[in-house]
Symmetry: D2
Subunit: 452 residues, 4 copies
């Protein structure tokens, strides 16, 4: 039991919980993925960083070693693992959400690269799902196929500057039909991936019917080629000082951008439906990658505090203060968060995202905070170096910090879970009432006086 | 899927993780247990309390409704569920640790009673396991059988007053042979169950060979009838103000107590071995019962904050401040703790307690603190009543608070987990070294300069 | 500097902040108080407990050593220190709130006794203030004088069973005039002090004008002799298992209780005004006593973890795990909480309670949680004994836990502080607007383009 | 009372605690400082950022508006406020540590600029103190005077790469005499300020006598001109993605750098003494600036959550979830941290840094974590923008995060405070023993049996 290589990387006990839910294909793919990432990707991490220039050309750079690794991964069948055959028979792989969740964790141990070289990077994954599910044949031929091939990348343009766009009804970008064309005007920012020279297409969310009495039918999604006239990348936003080049998080003005009517996805007024479907499993993937990142931070911390060259005052770092306790707590927090997300993934497999909304929301507000805490402890163990460009820790921290905001801030998910719990009140009250009735009988039978 | 009644009480998503690991017998027993507890035990909770007098006679009381429920439970086959047929073929039930863990959680929702009426109460459970595993035929006939029948109860006398006995080598109680007798002298306290009039036997840990060079061979365990001359119950200790009558937590002086040589368990110097074997799964049971208690506290809180008669300033309690967030966090914390313990239970099934020590230790330091927090939030929602004798919450809090101390304080388990994590350091260092080697080759092949 | 004995008990640095705000009288009284409590009261703590029987007679007991100490304290001038001459010239002592706050902390180090022997116990203190400020001459002669003399004790009957009475408009107790009498009907609980045989008087809050359009004019306060016909003490409520005898927290039914019209305090409809005035400084006193309790818990913990007889595995307790860090954090938390409350006390001195509402509210929600945490750490250091009747820690915990509920639950004070902070928004917005204007000019002058 | 403008910016209640400890000069200077920062510096913040290029020339940039503001500040007498006349009669201003602490908080509300324009920036402040206290006349003429004039800046080179240099005995940089010269060889990093084109001098700590039996006499400090041959700035380290240009945190190799013997500070082997003296008050300044930064973050958050253009789902942000509670907690945390640091500053004034070590250490580990938490809440309220370059919040977070490491990581200060607390054990034990003796007498006199 538990002899699969994943147990070395994560934990034997969580693997034991799910091993029997893994197909032979999933187990083999997972093993292959681990070997590939450990042996090919790990040694390439610093090279990939070194191949990204520090000047403005970083935004025009296609990192050679990444492309090299992509070719290898594809050849090994470690490709598009996020796309489930169950829903996308033509292009997908036979993996459940649960199975992919474990792979996402493993990828997450390798920063952005782990996902990118296997063509499992956000926001491409969500965009491919949208196009596979809702795109028409021509849209799929033109955009989905090269995305699936890893030849191009993509962006999803939703968040708007000057607008509290976590409430989608606040969206201001205008999408309107003029003859056989669609005209887009809007001001977006934090559009991840838009900085990449390989990004050839944006899916843009905007309002096509702002006066529709149903607020959820006002939005539409349109396919916009990245080089369409009027698409202006204003600047690249930073996240706690990081620009995340070459993908980046761009501020973009869509200034009278015109695309053919055929570029509408799914239909007028279906935008809200599209973003809803897009978010569920994606949130779980982010969570599992964060857990992988936390696990990697812990492993890094363990190495640091046992490093004999880092002794102070004659002791290993782990012999000082609360280091051992911090490590134990990190281990426990990672383990319980992992099980939480795996169980949410299984729930998605059983009941589709809609039936797993509570579990997804719990994972969404629990996991990033947990991972930040673990990474923070590791940074602290490293001292100044932990905050520097020489370790991935600070970058990882910044990256995970965004997850407490993206796809709905923590508060939204917390409220949602709380409100769902409150819905259990009537059932609980009914049970209590029934028990009270029986209690009265029982007191009576035992000749005791019922307390007030 | 997930239509089992347990999903109503706990959570569909954790049930989905383990359902396929449950035998048909386990599923049926679980369903029966839930029905019994909900329909028979819930209505009896306040009656059981009412049948315990408030004066000194409380220590002589056998609560009638409890005995009535025990008879019913036994008839239904809801009896001794903790004793696994796998290890105790003669007396046990065919349940794994994982399967029993879920039942323990359900029992934990009903305070002490849930366990007691199914003959699954600590410390009897551990004592029965000791007798079943290590007792000789006569010891089993005399003590194990009536315990299995729920006719008597028992105590395990380990903790000592004036001694830091969480380090078992500090034990001072003396156990020595005199002819065909064993003579016991010692001062114990917090001996749970010793106050109960039904408790007929103590298992006493002491030092039989204090000078043995192996500190773990100095201890022995002896069976002492509760009414043996020299067994003096000095007083009943309280836990945050609760005396836990009738079981209680007694201070006991063993003053030249003499028992036949046959009362030695397993053999001279085997005491440490006995307590080690006794603790593992028991810790998990405590954890699962705590989770049940936390879930019950949350359910109670939900009913309170939605109670229309409790409105203040024109609003439901849940509409004030951070109540909804507190409920959401409680839900998430319970859920992740539950998965953690279930996975530890599964690990025990797979690798015996010895192979699951890290998982057990994690559960041991994570779960009680989590449960205390949830119960504390519920107390707060109830205001003064939450701290009173009219709700189980404060009693539950006190009860769970002991778990951060009993069977080893949190700090011991935290250190143990941390130290085990540190043992991964050499493997991690080796992997890092291998990756560094490949990294150098890769930089070289790409014509890049390796950073220092 | 800082040579005052208080620096030994609390901290030199907080004393330095306030020393120059202390009168010579205050300094001398403080020194005398410390000596008295250390030398006379400390040795009497366990005796006082021993003199309280464990059976029902505990509710009829006047503890001899307490009365003895009261006589001594009074002789020493350590009496009624809570009553400020500034507001109560006839009976008060020349102490400010700040000065008394330090004394309350010192008293708080000695549990209930510290306050009781100096006649500074709640709820008597608040009741004496009410009678001194609002009572007429006859009310003062009959009730205030014996209270000031420590001859009788008193209760304040506000909290109601079955009612969310933290919203005072929910109060149901009826107070109505019938001829020359007032008739009181109501069901109260958690009426602290009502169990004491020395308690001779209740101040009862109820609704005299339930239909008054101004919800804050519906209540009145009436003086009710404890032995008036119809005053029925139903039972004594417990707090986490403690009954707090002999004072207790009683459930009381006022069943057609009749008192003369003269027993009305201040006037019809003035009840809300009375309870408002009563609560402010009292909250600060509770906070300071909690800080004293936390400091005592820390001191006790320090002694335990350095006790050579408590070594485990060959090490002092403080050499294990996170004990040293826990002590350091406790020290820091106590220190900052102390400064917070002292500054609130000073604010009361400067601006009366009304002008210090934010500071009082902050102290009210910060301090009890802080103290609970410190006490909890100390309990943990003591193991099972920490939860027992042999240490004051668990009792202290239960006692402080009530402070998160009494006089308004944490949530109320948190919301109040948050809302007050939000009131700063317009000022902040105005300043920002002004800065923006100047910023535009500055960019212009420097020839730079103002960012959007 | 409390009418000073500082009460608007910080809090009336903490001001009340210290107002009477402020000289007239200090009050006037503080008022002038507030006006200057609010009216001149606030509008210049974004301009200063705009005047720093994003390309490599940022490291050669002297920001015009900063220099302009420096000239104004100096003219107003808001200059070198950190340098106390009490210790540096020639150059200092008549301000106590307490008085300056409040000014440091105010400056901290304005990021780096607030300190820089008043010539109160680290590391210059510490370096000026070293030169003023320990420098000889020529060293002062050459380096101190231009630093005091704000004409040049400076660096303090202590932290080393590849070395756990928080234990100063691990330092590897070699400082040795060769004839009339000193030769320095070493590899430092995170040398703050070294990137600035205005930085003309480094104070370098190294080992001059590595074999000295007293580990604290092995180090010396040498003055090294920034342009001395062999001083190689290898690169600029980042802090969570920020390069902090133009000051920066540089990696520097001192490669056979030669300076005249006269550049030795204070004397051979006095290095440890110099760094000790340098750190105490500086830590308090960092703390107070962090409190200012936290206060600013809270003010910013309040504006955001009350901004009507940011409503979601029809509500202000503050009407959602736990925002109000977060604000209340932030307010309370800032307030208590402020009082803690002010009291430490007062303690320094009374007992010099050596006598205030516990207070300084407490502030050092409490304040940065507190401030990070407040800033993090503000970031969360702003959503993606909170992490971006458009708000100061993320930069502030990164900046304060370094304070949990710089000048000794949290763990060091926590251990130090804990160990100091443990030193109180003997006194506590003695008191307990005395009380026990009196207790025995008292039990005896009352005819009660002393409990065991």
């Amino acid at each position: 039991m538990a002899s699969h290589p994943v147990t070395e990387l994560t934990s034997p006990s969580s693997w034991a919980m799910i091993e029997d839910k893994f197909s032979r294909y999933a187990k083999e793919t997972l093993a292959k993925l681990i070997t590939f990432l450990e042996e090919e990707v790990r040694p390439a991490e610093r090279l990939a960083r070194a191949q990204l220039p520090n000047d403005a050309t970083r935004w025009q750079t296609v990192i050679p070693v990444i492309e090299e690794l992509k070719a290898k991964a594809r050849k090994l069948g470690l490709w598009n693992l996020f796309l489930s055959k169950a829903y996308y028979p033509e292009h997908g792989v036979p993996l459940t959400n649960l199975e992919y969740a474990v792979m996402a964790e493993i990828m997450g141990r390798f920063g952005h690269i782990g996902s990118e070289v296997t063509n499992c990077s956000a926001p491409d994954t969500g965009n491919m799902e949208v196009l596979a599910r809702y795109g028409n044949a021509e849209q799929q031929r033109r955009w989905l196929v090269p995305l699936l091939n890893g030849e191009i990348r993509s962006a999803f343009a939703m968040t708007e500057r000057f607008v509290a766009s976590s409430d989608a009804t606040n969206i201001r970008t205008s999408i309107r039909q003029e003859g056989e064309e669609i005209v887009i005007n809007g001001h977006k920012w934090y559009i991840s991936g838009a900085g990449d020279p390989r990004t050839k297409v944006h899916l843009v969310l905007g309002k096509s019917d702002p006066n529709n009495s149903n607020a959820y039918n006002q939005q539409s999604v349109v396919i916009v080629p990245a080089d369409a006239p009027g698409v202006k990348v204003v600047r690249h936003m930073t996240v706690m000082g990081y620009d995340d080049a070459p993908e980046g998080h761009s501020e973009i003005i869509y200034d009278n951008v015109r695309v053919p009517l055929d570029n509408l996805v799914l239909g007028w007024g279906r935008g809200f439906e599209i973003i809803q479907g897009r978010l569920g499993p994606g949130r779980i993937h982010h969570c599992m990658r964060s857990i992988g990142a936390a696990q990697m931070a812990l492993d890094t911390m363990i190495q640091r505090v046992t490093d004999p060259t880092r002794k102070t005052f004659g002791k290993f770092l782990y012999e000082h203060g609360t280091v051992v306790a911090d490590i134990a707590k990190s281990r426990a927090e990672i383990e319980s968060a992992r099980l939480l997300v795996l169980s949410a993934a299984l729930q998605i497999d059983k009941l589709r995202p809609k039936g797993a909304m509570k579990e997804i929301a719990i994972a969404k507000f629990v996991v990033p905070s947990m991972a930040l805490q673990v990474v923070d402890r590791a940074m602290q163990a490293f001292g100044a170096e932990g905050l520097s460009q020489d370790q991935e820790l600070a970058f990882t921290y910044a990256n995970i910090r965004t997850l407490r905001i993206a796809d709905g801030p923590d508060a939204v998910h917390i409220q949602q879970v709380g409100q769902r719990e409150l819905k259990r009140a009537p059932t609980l009250a009914k049970k209590t009432a029934e028990a009270k009735k029986k209690e009265a009988e029982l007191f009576n039978r035992h000749g005791s006086k019922l307390p007030q």
